[in-house]
Symmetry: C2
């Protein structure tokens, strides 16, 4: 009887309340019993995004939302700036290039956050940059980019859109879409919102909508102007992913019950406990600065392969964390504390790491890391 | 206590076995317990498609699969031929135009099937047509196009691909991908395969793969060459829609248990019973020829609005059928017999129509239509 624990940065566990709602007999997306659900979900997403902007719902993974954030607002040849500090920053660059944009890229060493001055300098040098693309939480490195400050900088340029991939950041971080001037923000279902994969969300500011009218990239499946029109009537342009949207409604209800402030505080605390407990047994965080509250990336100790740690956690203890991606593969392992996560998910993660590392010959005193986690998790707030 | 019956041409009802599988705790798409499921699903789709070709699985609605069937195999300026005999034929034209293809369109009067000679003549006249796009079952009209004969015709042209939208046709019709020379065939989850919306399937022949290498339409989310490479390793290019794929595995098991021949015979019989029962009370089918086995479109009787019939079925009897789409709106109503459907779904549909029409003042003798349905449904095979 090896119980399974899912502690990966997506898909994340789905609460039983949500699973059960989605297991109800399916209903039709154009029929009157779906309309109020869709309306409630639209309002709920605005609440979660802290925005008055439209938040579109798409049937795709988060990457589909990223594609739509490129091909709906820009045209071939337009100059844009991407921040590439990991696998998902790289993806912004790839998508922009796919659609023929003229891409400037700030390459950030993996494990570090972009310095706001880098973006500032790039925009000063080339004020005809029409869009700045960044991650909130870069899932591959466990780094959080300073979206607030970046938003202030980009906001000084009237013709420049600020586009944020918040796929793994949403719910874990307090992202103030409107206050911070985020024109387009992408979310995904299988992360903080505690759903199976299959939905992307994209908020769009009025400034971005105006620019969308001039974009001439080819688009059909991700055609945001058409989606906007339809979704205002609580319909989608194509078949709605009804079961996932019904699940989303339930998931947002759970988050509302907890309250946004508490949701963010919980993630902050779980992340903090995870980080400090790892440090207590001599492990190094992969994020040298500005660690994400969604996922903690930990450097594999000298002589132990990161993938081996991932595999031991999984095979010996039933804990599915994550290994490294791209050039970090083998060098790190990652533990998520995202979405449907509480105190004992961190306890499971930390004790599993203690036991796995001990098993792999890393010298440590069992109980040392978890004691640190307990101390923090016991704290108020 | 108004029980609900879903008899629309998608989403269709999901069997409880499938709903329960999807309600199990979620697993990770890159972890070893998902790999064998994905492998089984890939094999299962080949069985369902009657093909040795790859069948890709995408996280999108069926329309996403249609987009991929255009932008992966063609380049701007290339000449293609679309058959437009309804809302979904129109969609082929729209997608091809979106990607800058040089589109020839055969406009077919709604309610009729394309005459194979029309396609033959078009290809003779312009042998540089590089692709022919058609629906198997055109959901908006309830017409089945003669895919087999069309495949023979297109097959004579070495450089022309034959692309079939089988989103509502798959499972209801015996579509022999390989035998009939279908190069690209698109399916969707919320139809015959009895799943919630969220997955598209696309089979791709070797001939099409060769052409894909030369295509220069921009593509990122629907990049079939990349998907092919990944899916050979039982992974997807982006996050897999794990819960839907697990459900798909279960749904295919149910279909396998029944056997393909029986599956097709069942759909044929349910469709036949629906059609004959409607005719028995003086109603006219919207399909003047070659009716689809997925959905029956029925002309609203003189003086009664089709939408009114749809609404009465729904509000008074809890039966969600479908109204008309596009220019057929108000003129017809549609009843599906697709996927998780048996004898008593037809009985429900037919008796609900009898009662609804009687309610709306149409002169009919209650029991007359259903007697005809019973007679047919009692028959062997």
């Amino acid at each position: 009887m090896l119980k399974r624990y899912l502690l990966a940065p997506g898909p994340t566990p789905v609460p039983p309340e949500v699973l059960l709602k989605m297991a109800m007999p399916i209903i039709h997306h154009r029929a009157p019993d779906f309309i109020p659900v869709f309306e409630e979900v639209r309002e709920g997403l605005k609440w979660l995004y802290q925005t008055e902007n439209d938040v579109l719902i798409l049937c795709s993974t988060g990457t589909g939302g990223m594609v739509g954030a490129v091909n709906n607002f820009f045209s071939p040849g337009e100059k844009v700036l991407t921040v590439n500090g990991g696998k998902f920053g790289e993806r912004w660059t790839e998508i922009c290039k796919t659609y023929g944009l003229d891409v400037r890229e700030i390459e950030v060493e993996w494990g570090y956050a972009v310095k706001p001055e880098q973006v500032e300098d790039a925009l000063k040098k080339e004020p005809d940059i029409k869009g700045v693309f960044v991650q909130a939480s870069e899932t591959s490195t466990g780094v959080y980019h300073d979206v607030k400050t970046l938003g202030e900088i980009v906001g000084r340029y009237e013709d420049t859109l600020f586009i944020v991939d918040a796929i793994s950041g949403l719910v874990a971080h307090d992202l103030k879409t409107d206050e911070w001037g985020i024109d387009v923000m992408v979310g995904g279902s299988q992360k903080g919102v505690m759903l199976p994969p299959g939905l992307a969300f994209v908020s769009v500011s009025e400034k971005a909508w105006k620019k969308a009218e001039k974009s001439n990239c080819p688009k059909f499946y991700f055609d945001f102007l058409k989606e906007r029109k339809k979704q205002k009537d609580n319909q989608t342009n194509f078949t709605s992913a009804v079961s996932l949207i019904i699940g989303l409604n339930e998931a947002i209800k759970l988050l509302k019950k907890e309250g946004l402030k508490n949701v963010f505080a919980r993630h902050e605390k779980l992340a903090h406990a995870t980080r400090e407990s790892m440090k207590a047994i001599g492990l190094e965080l992969f994020a040298k600065e500005s660690p994400s509250n969604s996922v903690t990336a930990i450097v594999a100790p000298e002589g132990i392969d990161g993938q081996k740690i991932y595999k031991t956690l999984r095979e010996k203890y039933g804990v599915t964390a994550a290994g490294g991606q791209g050039k970090a593969k083998g060098k790190i392992f990652r533990i998520a504390h995202l979405g449907y996560a509480d105190v004992f998910d961190v306890i499971v993660a930390v004790t599993a790491v203690e036991m796995a590392l001990k098993n792999l010959g890393y010298p440590l005193q069992l109980g040392k890391a978890v004691a640190v986690a307990e101390e923090i998790l016991m704290g108020e707030g």
